[in-house]
Amino acid sequence: MSVPIHPLAVRAYTVTSALGQGLESHLAALSSGRGGLRQNDFSSAPLACWIGRVDGVEDAALPAAHAAWECRNNRLAWLGLHQDRFLEHALDARQRYGAARVALVLGTSTASIGATEEGYRHLDENGHMPPDLRRPLIHAPHSLAGFVAEALGLEGPCLTVSTACSSSAKVFANAERLIRLGLADAAVVGGVDTLCDSVLFGFNALELVSPEPCRPFDQARRGISIGEAAGFALLERVDAAPDALRLLGYGESSDAHHMSTPHPEGLGAELALRDALARAGLSAEQVDYINLHGTASLKNDEVEAALIARAFPTTTRASSTKGFTGHTLGAAGILEAAFALLAIRHGQVPGNLGCTHPDTACGPQLALQSEQRQVNVALSNSFGFGGNNACLAFGRALA
């Protein structure tokens, strides 16, 4: 069923999370095993948990020209765009192809709902939004992509994907289709999610939040730690950047099982995985590293561990990086795509921070500590509420 694709070049990419701003800080944290979680100092009312908060978001005010888009989520986007010279790369693509030939596809689950929450905490005496938040643009899911399109001056196809925790993984698939059909020559993809009461108290209500730093795949795991992140990648045809790392394939599927728990046998996850391998023309034996969804929820990790154990040889290495960053929800797809790309570029498999006694469902593939080894092909798994699954495959340019 899956149509094989021509790989795309990932000319540039960047991420900002609780581990720091830009790729270097992420690589350094993964190498040294230094996590970024802290005790919750964010929510508007006390909630005992650990979070992956980005330092400096509050200081990243938007330029006056973009003031209509002011909110914390867009500040994190703005901060993220300035790392690793990503802004220059995006503007260069606009220059080379023309503004209408560069697509923008961004994933988010929170968008700027934090600003809407703030408005409701400070309604005026007549029950209306306070004057400074009477800005319709930020009270909509498209707030992030609308802002980034304006900030980068892009005029091509522009779409927000909001499929919970698979959002910013699926954007690679949207972009590939647009480029394949000649509707765009390049695409800026990525995603931004920020901490807000909706997700902190929402996951808390579902009893999915751990009181301690999350411990993906550990027998004693107690749930997730919520984080925030921004990340972007610039995709082009391979001939435009022949030496760049590549998007080899992607897979998308639906569990058709339950709104908030995964299929017990990982049916949808496996369909997405097989779809990604088929589009990339790869076999499981060729996969060197998998960045797992690994949220540290009881159910996800059990199901995903069993899938990896049965589908991959012992030579494949796998880990969840959510012990470092927390679960960055709608931004997890792009953040962990960047971890897969870093693993290829630097020959380093990240360790699975927080796990000391792996769940009995885990196979020998789980890398508890970081490892130096050649990585030619890396996958990244992202699974969301509503049974929405995505898997990405990355590799290096052919020698």
Binding site: T116, R121, P141, H142, G156, G202, G386
Partner: protein
């Protein structure tokens, strides 16, 4: 040759006045039309799910079910794209109100129903669909951008695709920001090639730097102006009802999508 050609095999529609596409055609022909029940029936959902599902899900599932039934396709085989400008505004209003006062009392069910892909989740669960499902948004261009996305998916994968665009009416202080005063949904089943089920062919072309052409017309007070999907869809709906004509939708802030209808001979 257009950038994209897709073949419409099914059309679903729901507003408080029009219960389906046949009602629209009747209304445009000047015939009397019975308004539908006040809540979309969404008969594809099992009864217990129908009771629990929020209004945004009922509306999306209702129009999706109509379109798929008209196409004669099996919903299990259709990748689906669900589009909404604002998602479930009732849940957003509830959550922001609760979080401002008693955050620890937030309802877990309403939280998991708050995700933008809740309609896609309920739909794929009810129909047993394991194909890809997406939930998208693009502000006032939500209809055009998602039509472009669904047509792209259909042509790139050479598979029929279900597109569902819907917004429920707003509530509370949020409604003053969204300006959405009524519910409306439209769904299309799009196929990559002509078939006996083909109703009409859509020829799609992108027109860049079209900011001027996309400037909204002055308000007239017409019913469709109080819902962002309906406002965008109104010219397309009229063309679908007559099987001809062309119209221009916003696909992004300055990117227009020209949609020309061709009825197969």
């Amino acid at each position: 040759m257009s950038a994209l050609q897709v073949y419409v095999e099914g059309i679903g529609l729901w507003s408080s006045e029009l219960g389906d596409f046949a009602a629209l055609k009747a209304q445009l022909a000047g015939l009397p039309v019975e308004p539908p029940a006040s809540r979309p029936r969404a008969e594809i959902l099992p009864p217990n799910e129908r009771r629990r599902a929020p209004e945004s899900v009922l509306l999306a599932v209702e129009v999706a079910g109509q379109a798929v039934a008209m196409s004669g396709r099996d919903a299990r085989d259709l990748p689906c794209v669900f589009s909404s400008t604002f998602g479930d505004q009732h849940i957003s209003d509830y959550m922001c109100t609760t979080l401002a006062t008693t955050p620890a009392e937030l309802s877990p069910t309403r939280f998991h129903n708050s995700v933008h892909n809740a309609p896609a989740g309920y739909w794929t669960i009810a129909t047993g669909c394991h194909a890809s499902s997406s939930a998208v948004s693009a502000s006032q261009a939500s209809l055009g951008a998602s039509l472009l996305e669904a047509a792209t998916l259909c042509v790139a994968e050479q598979r029929p695709v279900l597109l569902v665009c819907s917004d429920i009416s707003g509530q509370g202080p949020l409604r003053e920001m969204t300006g959405t005063h009524r519910s409306f949904g439209i769904a299309l089943v799009l196929a990559p090639a002509a078939s006996p089920q083909t109703l009409v062919r859509l020829d799609l072309d992108l027109i860049p730097h079209a900011g001027e052409a996309l400037r909204p017309a002055p308000a007239t007070g017409a019913w469709y102006e109080s819902n962002p999907i309906a406002a965008s869809a109104w010219p397309l709906m009229q063309n679908l009802a007559t099987g001809e004509g062309d119209c221009t939708l916003a696909a992004a802030e300055t990117l227009a999508l020209r949609v020309a209808l061709e009825t197969p001979a």
